[in-house]
């Protein structure tokens, strides 16, 4: 089991190749079934995430390479994935990669979360668009250093 977890910790999100699926909180269960197969339960981040099947294939490949002959990947929907499950390491990796990590959930339609610039740490930023290069990100710009950046939305 520890070997399986170690193998999964090396599987990166293809659209965010600085964080692993374990650090993202996508791996919900790892166990060895009665027939000796390793069973991994993954939860999707977003319904429309086009990387989901690639991630499942990558996870299966990593487990086979780690010596598991029989691999079962299942999808679980409940409870739904939340950015609260991202590890501290994942948040720091995102920031180092120039992506502002998730902050607080907007409490209403007109509420804007506070997002700090990942480059200069300024809190003087504004949202350019609710959506970025993938469903999980929004586009922001920093009013201090003037750099555009992406923000991993809080879900």
């Amino acid at each position: 089991m520890a070997a399986a977890r170690r193998a999964l910790a090396r599987v990166l999100d293809p659209e965010l190749p600085v964080v692993s699926i374990v650090d993202l909180g996508m791996v919900r269960d790892v166990r060895i079934d009665a027939d000796g197969a390793v069973m991994v339960a993954l939860t999707p981040t977003y319904s429309g995430c086009p990387a989901q099947s690639a991630i499942e294939q990558d996870a299966a490949r990593a487990l086979r390479q780690a010596g598991f002959a029989s691999v079962r990947i299942t999808q679980v929907l409940s409870p739904p994935w939340t950015t609260d499950w991202m590890t501290h390491a994942a948040r720091e990796a995102l920031r180092a990669h120039g992506i502002a990590p998730p902050t607080t959930r907007p409490s209403g339609l007109f509420d804007e979360p506070q997002v700090d610039c990942p480059r200069c740490d300024s809190s003087h930023t504004h949202r350019v668009s609710e959506f970025g290069s993938s469903a999980c990100k929004a586009l922001y710009a920093c009013d201090a250093c003037l750099e555009p950046f992406e923000h991993f939305k809080c879900l």
Partner: protein, 262 residues
């Protein structure tokens, strides 16, 4: 409630998101600005992702071996159960009949009305007696919430924008309002589904929908149209002519090259 009711209800949920997602995807590569091109595509992807869950569940409950793909690509228009609102076109295109994209204001108006209702519906479905529906709804509700943020903010920006954008936004909402009645009108299937605790009575969503619409319209300096004559029929398979064209494009590959995969 029969298995037939259960499947019908799941097809309604699946077809709303599939047809709505397909309609939005017509903007891909044609958005008015790059950010909106990406935003509309992302919303479309989420909706189609949700449709996959709903249609897979419909096929499982039906128990006749139909997959999400069979249901999406091999049913005729009269077998689709989406509400009429989501199949309405994106508005006139500038590039002639073969043009894509459309009128951004019309698209946003449709999306906003749908998102406002969708958030309310999913919020109720989270407590469905069908555990799978509850799980999909919990996931989809989070996504619908930020779809609604996006569309509502545009309604406000365009409504409270220039005289011209205000006028066009009001026109778009007025024109689509007659498709909102269906969202809250129960039929026999809805009544049995509600009695079984699987989904809400549609009419129970109306008060929250109106309150949310009014809050956004007030910010947008727009008027809520009066509830006049309402066009219904989508949930029973009686669609507007627009659905046929949408399906022709969406299904043509699977219909022409049966079983094609890559």
């Amino acid at each position: 409630m029969t298995t037939h009711d259960h499947v019908e209800y799941l097809l309604r949920l699946g077809d709303n998101t599939l047809v709505g997602g397909q309609r939005l995807s017509e903007w891909v590569g044609h958005g008015p600005v790059l950010e909106e091109d990406i935003a509309l595509s992302n919303v479309a992807l989420d909706l189609i992702g949700q449709a996959r869950w709903w249609l897979t569940r419909a096929g499982t409950v039906e128990g006749q071996g139909r997959t999400e793909d069979d249901l999406a690509f091999l049913r005729d228009g009269t077998a689709f159960r989406n509400v009429l609102l989501v199949e309405q076109p994106n508005g006139p295109t500038r590039g002639g009949p073969s043009g894509r994209g459309g009128d951004f204001g019309v698209t946003i108006a449709r999306q906003w009305l749908f998102d406002t209702w969708h958030v309310q519906l999913l919020q109720h479905l989270v407590t469905s007696s069908d555990d799978e529906i509850a799980a999909i709804a919990a996931k989809a509700h989070k996504e619908a919430t930020y779809h609604h943020r996006h569309s509502a903010q545009w309604v406000i920006r365009l409504g409270d924008g220039t005289d011209h954008s205000h006028h066009r936004m009001q026109q778009a909402i007025d024109a689509l309002w007659r498709f909102t009645g269906e969202l809250f009108t129960p039929d026999d299937v809805d009544e049995r589904i509600a009695a079984a605790g699987i989904g809400p009575d549609p009419s129970a969503l109306k008060a929250a929908f109106d309150a949310s619409v009014d809050a956004v319209l007030a910010e947008a300096t727009l008027q809520r149209p009066a509830d006049g004559w309402m066009q219904t029929g989508g949930k029973q398979g009686e669609h507007t002519e627009h659905l046929g064209y949408l399906l022709a494009e969406m299904q043509h590959l699977q219909r022409t090259y049966v079983g094609a995969s890559w």
